[in-house]
Symmetry: C2
């Protein structure tokens, strides 16, 4: 599927506007300093295949590259902000319209991402920031605020661009012919198969979104589910859906943090919550899993991850996902190793997330007028940048998507291999 | 398949012999001390479901257990040695015949393994030993000695109990009906499929044993292989086989350590070598992989592992695998994360190794007279204990078997899922 990522939110023909707004006289000394600073910024970014256009019309392109797009800075203030903290300010300036992108936004972000040196090579400051980050705690109150920030901005907003079932995590495209609705069902089915659910087993779900997985497990596999979530908007939606579909007896939606999970279960599942837990709390989450899993218990954690430890983009952390941290696989093992959990299967679905996000961005762009009407233009632009940047990050391998299946160390009732995941005669029509 | 693990090497009816050898007069005070020490030892081991018989015929069984077998200690000296360092001395005394096992050896070792507390709970001493262990270095000279110790004791010995192709790593039983020969071919095929080999690609193999995988890859997938090994006996065998099968043009066997690998390749593969590398050297091995892998390169590491970091059994380290260390998955990530390698797939084949080892032990027991004639009784008993103990360790979940597939971080030529591994129309007859 080919999507068109040209920006539907260009506020104006930015370059011309910028020139009119900033009638700076051509001063060759100032111009030389500007040029030097800009070339330095581009060099730090690894000289990406882009051009930068300043408010006075000056355009700079790193030597020897064929630019895939242009960044237009509309004022001297925007330029200085970008120089001071590019990782944060790119997003801030784009949202406010002080930075405009000409050309395909995703392609431009990929060009920058491709040239950026690995985070580990970006020097001591980043490492210091990383360590600082690890000191931050997601207490229960803080975790609640973080979740409200992202998930309680209105179900109507998410309905504009998610699939019908409101699944806000990586879909699964076993064939490229699947549409988003089908690919989300295929993902739910894949998770159920990996968990080897049997009728009347008990399942606890940590972080259940709008309830699609919990309801799917109950309907198609006959299990009993207790699903925890902090987002009140999501819980209200999920409870209403369970009632409507006659599944309220089998699925209980509970307002609570993962630390509040009580009881014991055959199965632990968590899809898209670990990103919000924070590395400092993996010991607590691991203890919860150990406490709530029966002796033959098994589980699955589905999470955005990294190839190596790295801090989250400063802008994403500030505006989109406060308190979030995608772990490396090595870091994830802190969840399991203290309790001797046995890892049975790890699958990396990275490119499936890029595909999912392309569907989301395409739907989002189609609904952009409604988003602007619901919120405002800076909000609409910020979310567009977040979706486009995520496509770029998954496509270039800056972000990964791990599904990790685990069980108690002594559980020998495990399958011989993963062939059973791919059998056609499944319960879902789609597989 | 049901195997019979009763000991073909019982030197005599141990209990009666012991009583005759040690005519200690019944001294009730000494007897009380002995009993107290023995009960303490059993308590430390978690009161396993076994009995212990002393040289004077005294028999002690932990309260409330139904013993699956008996340990017979033939002298006071053996008893004191076992008390002083059970982890090392159990193997030493068993090998020399001063400790005898009555009943099924595997079942008895499983009973002990099941009751032993996790290594992390065995106190500070173990943790200190663990840290000490991590200081040990497998220099190139030391690595060579370690490999000679285990692998250069004679191809004729291994031919007695391995499969025809001499594959000395975990086999793969997609169906329980496979025999060992078939299951080893299925493993070679599985590795090739995971690596997605294409004709004329170049492959480097680190640690190639008797060459079965290298030759299989060249024959069935048309790739060019350079295979490194330190064991001269294995290399001589592998080179001769390549010549005989007309594959010497496609497969080059090189005497060398993984640190001596030169050139660049499409594929890196290592089956059963990482166990010998030692945690301190993962940075070096990771650097070798990074140096030798082309930009679209991919790889597979197959290794014995753990659910959590733990030192190797002292006896296995001393007598069977000097310098060896099976890592946890978290520890393994030290190979990949510094170079941003992307983990695509992790599979745990733990129970396949238990099945493989049952085949090996069964063949070994059938050839025990020949082993004794080649070496001596203590050697034959030591290797029997190692095979039986390994069955127990994999069955109980003390050891894992990880196959980890990885690629460069930016490589997008990766499969959608693992369904292709399980397609029937493969190149092998067996799959």
């Amino acid at each position: 599927m080919k999507h068109n990522h040209t920006n539907p939110l260009n506020l104006s023909q930015a370059r011309e506007a910028a020139q009119a707004d900033n009638p700076v006289p051509a001063d060759s000394k100032f111009s030389a300093v500007k040029q030097w600073l800009l070339r330095r910024l581009l060099r730090t970014a690894g000289n990406p295949a882009i051009s930068v256009v300043l408010w006075d019309g000056q355009e700079i392109t790193p030597a020897g590259v064929a630019p895939v797009g242009r960044i237009v800075l509309r004022s001297r203030g925007a330029f200085l902000k970008l120089l001071s903290h590019p990782d944060l300010q790119f997003g801030e300036l784009y949202s406010s319209g002080q930075l405009e992108v000409e050309g395909d936004l995703v392609a431009l972000l990929e060009a920058i991402g491709r040239s950026l040196p690995p985070i580990t090579e970006r020097g001591r400051l980043i490492n210091a920031l990383n360590r600082l980050y690890l000191l931050k705690r997601n207490t229960m109150a803080k975790a609640r605020d973080n979740i409200y920030h992202h998930y309680d901005i209105g179900n109507a907003f998410y309905q504009l661009w998610l699939d019908q079932q409101m699944v806000y995590t990586c879909a699964y495209f076993p064939s490229p012919a699947l549409d988003l609705e089908q690919a989300q069902i295929a993902k739910l089915e894949l998770v159920c198969r990996k968990l080897m659910l049997k009728p009347d087993e008990t399942v606890v779900e940590a972080g259940c979104g709008w309830g699609a997985l919990a309801l799917y497990m109950a309907r198609h596999y006959g299990v009993m589910v207790r699903a925890y979530n902090l987002s009140r908007e999501q819980l209200a939606y999920a409870r209403e859906r369970a009632r409507r579909e006659g599944l309220a007896e089998r699925v209980e939606f509970i307002e609570g943090d993962y630390r509040q999970i009580s009881g014991t279960y055959d199965v632990f599942v968590s899809v898209g919550m670990l990103e919000h837990v924070g590395l400092k709390h993996y010991g607590e989450l691991g203890a919860v899993i150990d406490r709530c899993l029966k002796s033959s218990g098994r589980g699955l954690i589905h999470t955005i991850g990294r190839n190596q430890p790295a801090p989250l983009s400063a802008w994403i952390e500030k505006r989109i996902f406060p308190g979030a941290y995608p772990p490396s696989l090595g870091e994830m093992m802190q969840l399991f190793e203290p309790w001797r959990c046995s890892i049975l299967d790890v699958e990396n679905l990275r490119l499936h997330y890029a595909e999912t996000l392309r569907h989301w961005l395409s739907r989002y762009d189609a609904a952009i007028d409604q988003v602007q009407a619901m919120f405002d233009t800076p909000f609409a632009r910020a979310w567009r940048l977040y979706l486009a940047g995520s496509i770029a990050a998954f496509t270039m391998g800056d972000l990964q998507l791990f599904q990790v299946v685990f069980t108690r160390h002594h559980n020998n009732a495990v399958p011989r291999n993963r062939e059973f995941l791919y059998r056609e005669a499944g319960k879902a029509d789609i597989f």
